[in-house]
């Protein structure tokens, strides 16, 4: 795990090394201080040597200042290392996600990807930072304290030999018992939050069905479960401190008991004896810190696992066999006996033996029920998914021959689930072509029938859309997305049910504009309404991943039963909003 994450410290490793040295140094200085103090007590006071005492005092102050400088240095260095590592890790994840194919994206839910890039990443950077500051201190302190203690008095040091293993075993035990409790705690917290989350989004359902009390009971069940585990987990944690205290105090008492004869015999001075007390407290304090940090690390490990999953996900579509300079010659699209399934292990093909040839500049309509794989079919054209068998060709060449940038530059697609981004109307449209002039933008908007409302907006193209385009209606959003796709001046334009919220008259206007303004662009239109595709050069009827029929409206009315059914049902139940 560390091996996987270590590369992301690149460029910040000198901070790590220096920071670790600083916090180690700080720990050593902290331990040296009591030694000087012992000198004062044991040598200065009995001799009544004021100058000696002042000299030693000054030495102590200087040492404390050095130690402070080291400590502050460690804080500054570790925050640089931690934040630098975090920023790189976040960037690595984000950049890697940019390489994901649709299939990769679907493997993770949006929410979980966001958590991995935000809180998980923050947890890891925090761990590195705290680890550098505190985790180094403990071993350094432990070892130096032991060395110093032995050098003061070998006999007394034996007390440490008993206390320390005892302490380490205890810490290990605590961590072992506590981590499953905290995992459970986290799960139950998530459970509780889920109930709140669902309750909030479904509050109208709750109120309509008068389920307030039922929801309250549902919440209470989770809340009680959470209470139970948190009492258990936190109740267990609080044993930690008193136990540590007991060990500390026990050690102090032992040191006094065994130290007294040594003092009597003149083998040990009183000042050094009290130095021992100080060491004991310091070592134990830093071990206590370790046990706290270990708890944080157990959480960090879970985060690291999730982050590594994101980084390890292999993007399944890449430019490997592409010719970088190749551009699509025209807008012809061919499916040669294409088979496709989303899940490689699934037995059933989502698309079954699709053989479809579209001439450049043609208008093609695709009709079919939910689950008939209409969207799947068109998503193969810009190579959003990779086919398993057969070939998809654009401009006569297999899609794999083009770089993704050139392929997707030539094939413009308006997704069923449209997304606009925060920023102005103009900023959103420029996604299609970052160098587009206002004239071109206006023309694209005209073609998509978006100009009529954009021009009426208070600040025109500069109107802010807000996050997710919340300031426009569904139909307006769809038209902006179409304009954005047109601006790319694509060779193939695909609309995946992109005018569902647009009224029939506007829909017809958009289609007319396509005919007039984009005569050379191949237009592939998925629609629920037959009226939207009736005048297409070719209409494809999909049924459960198969092509059930192909032809013009008249031909299909003759030959295809599904088509006829759909047409007739739409005639009688013509829809109000289209």
């Amino acid at each position: 795990m560390i091996k996987k994450l270590w590369p992301y410290t690149r460029g910040h490793r000198h901070f790590i090394v220096l920071g670790v040295l600083c916090s180690g140094g700080e720990a050593v200085f902290e331990l040296l201080l009591p030694l000087v103090m012992a000198d004062i007590v044991d040598t200065g006071i009995p001799a009544g040597d004021t100058a000696f005492i002042l000299r030693k005092g000054l030495q102590m102050v200087l040492m404390a200042l050095v130690s402070m400088a080291l400590g502050i240095g460690s804080a500054f260095l570790s925050s640089r290392a931690g934040q630098g590592f975090g920023a790189q890790l976040r960037k690595a994840q984000y950049d890697h996600v940019q390489e994901y194919s649709f299939r990769n994206i679907e493997k993770f839910s949006t929410a979980s990807l966001v958590t991995r890039l935000t809180s998980d990443c923050n947890m890891l950077q925090m761990s590195l930072m705290m680890g550098m500051r505190l985790l180094v201190r403990a071993p350094v302190m432990l070892v130096s304290a032991l060395i110093l203690a032995v050098s003061i008095s070998l006999k007394l040091s034996r007390v440490f030999l008993v206390a320390m293993p005892l302490l380490l075993v205890m810490i290990a035990l605590v961590i072992r018992y506590i981590s499953p409790m905290f995992t459970a705690f986290q799960e139950r917290t998530d459970d509780l939050n889920l109930v709140v989350q669902e309750n909030l989004s479904a509050i109208r359902v709750v109120k309509s069905f008068v389920r307030e009390d039922y929801e309250g009971k549902k919440f209470k069940k989770r809340n009680d479960a959470l209470l139970e585990i948190s009492e258990k987990a936190f109740g267990f944690i609080v044993i930690n401190q008193p136990l540590m205290m007991l060990i500390t105090y026990g050690t102090i008492i032992a040191v006094m008991w065994y130290g007294a004869p040594l003092v009597q015999a003149g083998d040990l001075e009183v000042g050094l004896l009290s130095t021992f007390f100080t060491y004991i407290t310091q070592v134990l304090m830093s071990l206590m810190m370790v046990s706290m940090i270990m708890m944080m690390l157990t959480r960090a490990i879970a985060c690291a696992k999730r982050v590594i999953e994101v980084l390890d996900e292999v993007p399944d579509i890449a430019d490997t066999s592409a010719d970088a300079s190749l551009e699509a010659a025209d807008g012809s699209v061919d499916f040669d006996h294409v088979y496709f399934k989303y899940n490689d292990t699934a037995g059933k093909w989502n698309l079954h033996d699709i053989d479809l040839h579209i001439k450049s500049g043609a208008t093609v309509g695709i009709i079919g029920g939910t689950g008939s794989a209409k969207s799947t079919l068109v998503q193969l054209i810009p190579r959003l998914y990779e086919v398993q068998e057969g070939a998809v060709r654009v401009g006569g060449r297999p899609v794999q021959d083009y770089s993704l940038e050139h392929l997707r530059g030539a094939v413009s697609m308006v997704l069923q689930k449209n997304t606009l981004f925060s920023g102005s109307v103009r900023e959103n449209l420029l996604w299609g072509d970052e160098n587009a002039t206002d004239m071109e933008i206006e023309a694209a908007c005209e073609a998509a029938c978006a100009w009529e409302f954009v021009s009426r907006m208070p600040r025109g193209l500069d109107t802010d859309l807000g996050q997710g385009g919340v300031n426009v209606s569904g139909g307006q959003k769809q038209r902006l997305c179409i304009a954005r796709a047109i601006l790319k001046k694509p060779k193939v334009l695909i609309l995946d049910d992109s005018t569902s919220a647009v009224d029939t008259a506007t829909d017809a206007k958009i289609r007319a504009a396509f005919r007039e303004q984009l005569p050379d662009t191949t237009k592939i239109i998925i629609a629920q309404r037959i009226i939207s595709v009736m005048d297409a050069d070719l209409i494809v009827v999909l049924d459960d991943g198969h092509i059930s029929g192909m032809g013009t409206h008249e031909e299909l009315m003759e030959s295809n039963e599904i088509y006829r059914d759909v047409y007739q049902s739409q005639q009688e139940g013509a829809s109000l909003n289209g």
Partner: protein, 614 residues
């Protein structure tokens, strides 16, 4: 109305932003909080006693070093040493036991307290009017449960104890120091002043950096969320490079401000620690000099030095906890703000009762009025915000068993009308009656139970398919659930699911198609079997076959009931008894299909596809 609320940049449970806003009315918040904590009064008494005793033990324990050194170790009096060490061991064991006792009790108290607060908050939230949810985002409300309550737990679990024991220790140590050597204490006062200054200046700066860090963290998290959500569009437009560039700028900004904030926060500990070492050195020197000049005994000096170490700790501890305390009070304030929001008004006293095979209204005087489903609006005026009337003087009536359809463009007020029938919102003026009774006189619970609603957006809960249908009527048997699903035409697709009715749904039924989700919503309303029905047809596009299924399901559901339907499909409207065409909060046309077509007005335009509707 604002169905689509965004979650904040932080998912639930994640380490959220620390809020440094100052509490507005700390006194009231604290007393409310104390009200919760105070439920375990006698336990808190035990804690207080333990705490005082514990501090006494630790100060006394340190003091024992003096006689130990002066009277036992230096003269070599072993029996006395043994006795005194035994006493000391006793004191220490007591201290450990005491500290475990109060810590354990505090865990109990704090967990109970936050458990109670959470429960009350949730219960209260269920009683809030819908307008509250319109004006507060889900993310905001979620963070009451996560971040805010967490800060309260934190302060109750550790903070309070640290603050009190820190204060007690500080007082005790100061007293002991004064007792041991007033002269040395002067040295300590000097360094104490120094520490205070450091705490204040570093603290102030680090707070400023912290708020910059929180701001940039919010920006980067928001950006990540937006980009990840739009990832598919990025792919389609090969916009990866720009998306990366946008990320880099924000990532770097966050890194910079976080480095500053963390550097200062991290520097606090070594600064304080080493100041205490300097204090220790100064005290040591001064003590040594005093011991030479005035014969301060060695034991006292060693003990005093031990106290010096004990005394800087509470200062930094307390300065840390003060921040936590402020954060907790601010958090508690936000939680209590939700709890103090006025709940839905519900003073109606007419209730819904079963009357033989049908339903009836039971008036406060016991009189029974059979439920017929006669709904009337008289000059109803309503506004969501004071500036704009959404409905201006609506009058309409629906006779029992009639189907009333509303058509009109977005924002015309269709959904609002239905939201007023079940009293999701309060009207400004006018009157809405249900079987001749003012809806305000009907208990909300009864009113809503009499109305079945299928909302435009389907919301499903985590649980089985059967659970979700049963949400309509909790005591429905499996057969009833199945019957409702059959009526709604949902039975077929459900039986094709891997586990049929026991299929586990998560993520708002994410594995189901839009159409299937709607079928479940219809089944849910069907199992409730309400006398009056409100249908808000979904606009989302559904394939024609599923749409047929939904249509037939709806038709069966509507049979024999008074129905209000917000229609998007002509088939739904055409056989309605009355069609109301709404525009800007007014009914501009009304009549049946043929009448409206003959009028050649707005309805005619909609019908012929000349106007847009969504």
């Amino acid at each position: 109305m604002a169905e689509k609320r965004k979650n904040g940049p932080h998912g639930p449970g994640g380490p959220g932003p620390r809020d440094f806003r100052k509490p507005k009315n700390a006194g009231r918040t604290i007393s409310t909080l104390l009200g919760y904590v105070g439920k375990s009064k006698w336990l808190l008494g035990v804690v207080a006693v333990c705490l005082v005793l514990n501090v006494g033990c630790s100060i006394g324990g340190s003091y024992m070093l003096r006689p130990l050194i002066n009277d036992c170790i230096i003269p070599g009096d072993y029996p006395r040493l043994a006795r005194m060490l035994a006493v000391l061991a006793g004191i220490y064991v007591c201290a450990a036991l005491l500290s475990y006792t109060y810590a354990r009790i505090m865990v109990h108290v704090s967990q109970r307290t936050t458990h109670a607060i959470r429960q009350d908050l949730f219960a209260k939230m269920q009683r809030l009017p819908l307008s509250y949810f319109d004006t507060h985002t889900h993310g905001e409300l979620m963070s009451r449960y996560t971040n805010d309550i967490e800060t309260i737990t934190e302060i109750l679990n550790n903070g309070m104890i640290s603050l009190i024991s820190g204060g007690l220790t500080f007082i005790g140590v100061v007293a002991m120091m004064l007792y041991l050597s007033p002269a040395l204490f002067l040295v300590s006062v000097f360094s104490m002043g120094l520490m205070m200054v450091v705490v204040m200046t570093v603290g102030r700066r680090s707070r400023r950096y912290f708020s910059a860090q929180q701001r940039d963290l919010g920006v980067i998290n928001g950006y990540i969320e937006e980009m990840i959500e739009g990832q598919k569009v990025i792919k389609v437009f090969t916009h990866e490079r720009a998306a990366k560039a946008g990320f880099d700028v924000r990532n770097e900004a966050y890194r910079r401000s976080a480095v500053n904030a963390q550097s200062f926060a991290g520097a606090m500990m070594p600064a304080m620690g080493n100041l205490s070492h300097i204090n220790y050195a100064l005290t040591c020197c001064a003590g040594a000099l005093l011991s030479i000049a005035m014969g301060l005994d060695l034991g006292s000096l060693v003990v005093y030095l031990q106290y010096t170490r004990q005394f800087s700790q509470p200062i930094s501890q307390m300065s840390q906890q003060v921040n936590n305390l402020l954060a907790a009070i601010a958090g508690a304030e936000r939680v209590f703000e939700v709890m103090e929001t006025a709940p839905e008004i519900d003073e109606g006293r007419v209730t819904l009762v079963r009357d033989g095979s049908g339903w009836a209204w039971k008036k406060p005087d016991g009189a029974l009025v059979p439920l017929r489903g006669d709904v009337r609006f008289q000059d109803v005026v309503f506004r969501y915000v004071p500036e704009k009337a959404v409905l201006q003087g609506i009058s309409l009536y629906a006779k029992p068993g009639q189907k009333i359809a509303f058509v009109g463009s977005t924002g015309a007020g269709k959904t609002t009308i239905t939201n007023l029938i079940n009293r999701f919102y309060e009207i400004e003026s006018g009157l809405i009656t249900y079987d001749g009774i003012d809806v305000r006189d009907i208990r909300k619970e009864s009113l809503r139970r009499s109305l079945g609603i299928v909302l435009q957006d389907t919301h499903l809960f985590t649980g089985t398919v059967a659970d979700n249908i049963r949400y309509g009527r909790l005591d429905a048997t499996d057969e009833e659930v199945r019957a409702a699903a059959k009526l709604a035409n949902a039975d077929t697709f459900i039986s094709h699911l891997p586990n049929g009715y026991d299929t586990w749904l998560t993520d708002d039924g994410g594995s189901l198609s839009q159409g299937e989700r709607q079928l479940l919503a219809i089944a849910r309303a069907a199992v409730a079997d309400p006398p009056v029905l409100i249908l808000d047809e979904a606009t989302s596009s559904i394939d024609t076959r599923t749409e047929k299924l939904i249509e037939r399901g709806m038709d069966r559901l509507m049979a024999g009931r008074t129905v209000f339907v917000i229609a998007h499909r002509l088939s739904t409207v055409r056989n309605a008894k009355a069609i109301m065409v709404l525009e800007q909060g007014e009914i501009i046309e009304r009549g049946d299909h043929q009448e409206l077509i003959d009028q050649q007005g707005k309805y005619y335009q909609l019908y012929t596809g000349q106007a847009e509707l969504s």
